[in-house]
């Protein structure tokens, strides 16, 4: 069997599960959950340093960017300028060009502003960034992102942090079919089985934060997601049986007494 490699933006990843590092009780729980998830890529946000509280622990005390790939995001940015400013700072900080772009359009739904997202993608690609893009599940807009040089298309399953799972399987399937770059379902996954469904449909990966961090036992849920993603991927590669309307006996009828 040929090895089932997951390559995104020129990087080979062992896991098809990418996890977020927000919303955890503390950094120790974040680090343990990331470990249990088996992810080799994590998303991080860029924020002001709390200059008054020097003793407060920081994320990089618990997660080492040399051991795990940091994917800086633009969470909280509502226009292209804010997003570009954030990612340019991220590049200066870590020296890497792989980023997650999300330009939000609405505070209540956190739905992406696709016009600003496409514009920002174009600029970032020109500046040499490798851009993984959070987007709506509209196939035409997803194609537009790819045409503008996105390294990965990351359609939402449902609104960020909603846990509603994949709401429009048809659209996600259309995006998978047409895309030549990896398709990673980002946002809205609620539980492990949702991730399996996404992987069975043929997604290249999933990005999970709230479903793990907001679980009653986040570390155990991280493990559940690890297994769910592997299971879904294997199921996709194995190719499911055809659906039939009527029954088909599992035991042979020949030799029946």
């Amino acid at each position: 069997m040929t090895k089932d490699l997951f390559k995104v933006a020129g990087r080979s990843l062992k896991s098809r599960l990418i996890v977020g590092t927000g919303k955890y009780k503390n950094f120790s729980e974040t680090a343990k959950s990331v470990k249990a998830s088996g992810a080799d890529m994590v998303t991080v946000a860029v924020r002001r340093v709390n200059i008054l509280d020097k003793k407060k622990p920081i994320l990089t005390d618990y997660l080492d960017p040399k051991k795990i790939i940091f994917l800086p995001n633009t969470a909280g940015c509502f226009n292209s300028n804010e997003a570009l400013r954030t990612l340019r700072l991220a590049r200066e900080m870590g020296g890497w060009k792989l980023v997650k772009l999300e330009v939000l359009g609405d505070k209540k739904t956190l739905y992406p502003n696709m016009l600003e997202t496409i514009k920002s993608t174009r600029t970032l690609v020109k500046e040499g960034f490798k851009v993984m893009v959070y987007c709506t599940d509209d196939p035409l807009l997803a194609k537009k992102l790819e045409d503008n040089g996105a390294s990965a298309i990351m359609p939402l399953a449902s609104p960020i942090g909603s846990g509603l799972g994949i709401q429009n399987k048809v659209n996600i399937s259309l995006i998978i079919k047409q895309s030549k770059v990896p398709v990673i379902v980002d946002a809205g996954i609620g539980t492990a089985s949702d991730a399996t469904v996404a992987m069975e449909m043929g997604c290249d990966g999933v990005l999970i934060n709230s479903a793990i961090a907001n679980a009653k036992k986040p570390i155990l849920m991280a493990k559940a997601f690890k297994d769910a993603v592997i299971s879904g991927r294997n199921s996709f590669l194995a190719g499911r049986m055809a659906k039939k309307l009527f029954a088909s006996p599992s035991s042979p009828l020949k030799g029946l007494i």
Partner: protein, 67 residues
């Protein structure tokens, strides 16, 4: 003496104070932060020789948990 704004907070610094001095004062690891001076990103190699002046606006950011 110079009055500057650091992450939105007004502070007073000595004269001939560089970005590197500022980082040292607040015990910040220059490998773990990025700095914007009056809206322009300052490359790490310039921290030592970039001196701060009155009314400068400095933003120091780092990575935190996020989705």
């Amino acid at each position: 003496m110079a009055k500057i704004q650091l992450n939105g907070k007004k502070i007073v610094i000595k004269s001939n104070y560089s970005i590197l001095d500022l980082l040292k004062k607040y015990k910040l690891n220059n490998k773990k932060v990025a700095i914007e001076l009056n809206g322009i990103i300052i490359p790490k190699i310039k921290y030592k020789k970039k001196y701060l002046k009155n009314n400068d606006k400095v933003e120091v950011v780092h990575f935190i948990g996020g989705g």
